[in-house]
Amino acid sequence: MDEKNDKQLRIVGFLCNWCSYGGADTAGVCRFKQPPLLRIIRIPCTGRMDPLFVVKALAQGADGVLVSGCHPKDCHYAVGNFYARRRLELVKRFLPFVGLDPRRFHYTWVSASEGQRWQQVVSEFSAVIQELGPNPGFGQDAVTENAPQAVSSQGGAGDTERCISPRSL
């Protein structure tokens, strides 16, 4: 991202159009001040959220991922957030296993009238991300593919690192 100057951290927000996007609007209308980290992607419903979006965003170096939708039982499509909360909780517990910091991913439920609460959600999550700093992502592309040599990243097995090979378990 060419404009990414050193300090500017970014949170990718996936907001459901009917409730949380409306909640963010309400927060704006009421001029509830928020830190400028969040960039919102509008989706029709949290049911549209494939957990892979979260993994890909964090792997690509998004500093934070915030997903917010209607409160359970209040979904515009009746059951969208019921499916979503299962998938999002599953990916939240899976992230640490592959070395992605689970604190960088947060999901919550905010209705269109809860402008104040949205301000609080954004401010608290932004503070967490400020404290965590830039996200190294996964597999920062080492200088592999455009080097003429063949075998990919010569990271190779250094001697000192501690290895968990299943057979040694």
Binding site: E145, P148, A150, V151, S152, G156, A157, C163, S165
Partner: protein, 353 residues
């Protein structure tokens, strides 16, 4: 034995270090976490060099990387131009000389297939050509063929010099390194010490003995007619291929599989044109824009794989596109044995109905 030197075991690392002064040296090496997994890695001190073991993936990666950027392009916005931008293309690359030290003869011979296609064909591939010229192959006479090897059956052998620039002959306390080509001779001067007569003699005996050894019974070099005859026999192909999973493993570990795909990977205004390995066993390989796929299932795909190596290539170039290294058999998840398929081609009576 024209130019030869003796390389004691103790001086092996020293020699490799000397070679890597002005070239990238690739040796078969084990992984710390996985000792029995041997792959070609660039030499660096402390690497556990494993000349005694067969590498999993062939040395193909040295000349034909799994993915390489053919060129980088940048679109510079310019509204005065009709297209709205000007395209800048940059395909500069630096290819340092390389040495593949300690591969097997079959690895080296594999590149004969590559050369027929990438160099002697109607279109000369610049990327491959540049690496080919700068790479020296030092193969080790093979003493540990296993149940999957069948180099002799395809016209090669444990001591086949074809494709190698120099050959290592293992002796109890070291290796005799003999040059085969000009480039091999240049390399041999740099390392090792004068061989004693006994060592030369022992090396020559080893060479003769290996030369005579037959790895893999029968010959699979003249199967093009048999293949065409068997082409329509669905029962035959189902019999052999029902168990195949149609993954891409056999093609990726094979020293002679050279198929690739080219894709543009762009983001915003810049990007790269990537050449990356492809496999005839993959569904997208022959998927047409219309959605039709001439090889819809694994049976057609594997028949094509056999036909390509033992029929089409033979009738077009007069050589089998297989060096008999046995990797495709050894590592196949379900142990499909290409030898069994090819051997059954000419057999007339119903087999594996």
């Amino acid at each position: 034995m024209e130019k030869a030197v003796f390389l004691p075991d103790t001086e092996l690392h020293e020699a490799l270090a000397a070679l890597s002064a002005d070239a990238q040296v690739w040796v078969p090496a084990g992984d710390a976490s996985k000792p029995d997994l041997v792959r070609f890695q660039r030499y660096r001190p402390g690497l556990s060099v494993r000349l005694d073991a067969r590498s999993l993936v062939s040395a193909k990666e040295v000349l034909f990387p799994r993915s390489e950027a053919l060129l980088r392009f940048v679109k510079e916005k310019d509204l005065s131009v009709p297209a709205g931008h000007r395209l800048h293309v940059d395909d500069t690359r630096t290819v340092p000389p390389a040495v593949v030290f300690g591969c097997r003869p079959c690895d080296a011979r594999g590149f004969l297939t590559f050369d027929r296609v990438f160099l002697q064909g109607p279109y000369r591939d610049p990327y491959y050509a540049e690496r080919r010229e700068k790479t020296t192959f030092v193969s080790l006479v093979c003493r540990d063929a296993d149940g999957a090897c069948f180099c002799s059956a395809v016209g090669s052998g444990p001591a086949d010099p074809q494709g190698s620039d120099a050959q290592l002959i293992a002796l109890p306390d070291g290796y005799v390194l003999r040059a085969i080509t000009q480039r091999g001779a240049a390399l041999v001067e740099k390392i090792g010490r004068g061989p004693t007569a006994e060592q030369i003699q022992a090396a020559r005996d080893m060479l003769d003995q290996a030369g005579r050894e037959m790895v893999g019974e029968g010959s699979l070099t003249a199967m093009d007619a048999a293949f065409r005859a068997r082409f329509q026999d669905a029962a035959f192909w189902h019999g052999h291929i029902d168990k195949c999973l149609s993954c891409g493993l056999c093609t990726f570990v094979c020293p002679t599989c050279y198929c690739f795909t080219i894709t543009d990977e762009a983001r915003g205004l810049s990007g790269e044109r990537i050449r990356s390995w492809d496999a005839c066993m993959f569904p997208h390989f022959t998927l047409e824009a219309s959605g039709h796929n001439p090889r819809p299932s694994k049976v057609e795909r594997y028949r094509n794989r056999v036909g390509h190596k033992f029929s089409y290539f033979v009738s077009k170039y007069g050589q089998v596109a297989c060096c008999g290294c046995g990797r495709c058999i050894r590592h196949c998840p379900v142990s499909v044995d290409i030898r069994a398929v090819v051997r059954d081609l000419p057999v007339q009576e119903e087999v594996h109905a």
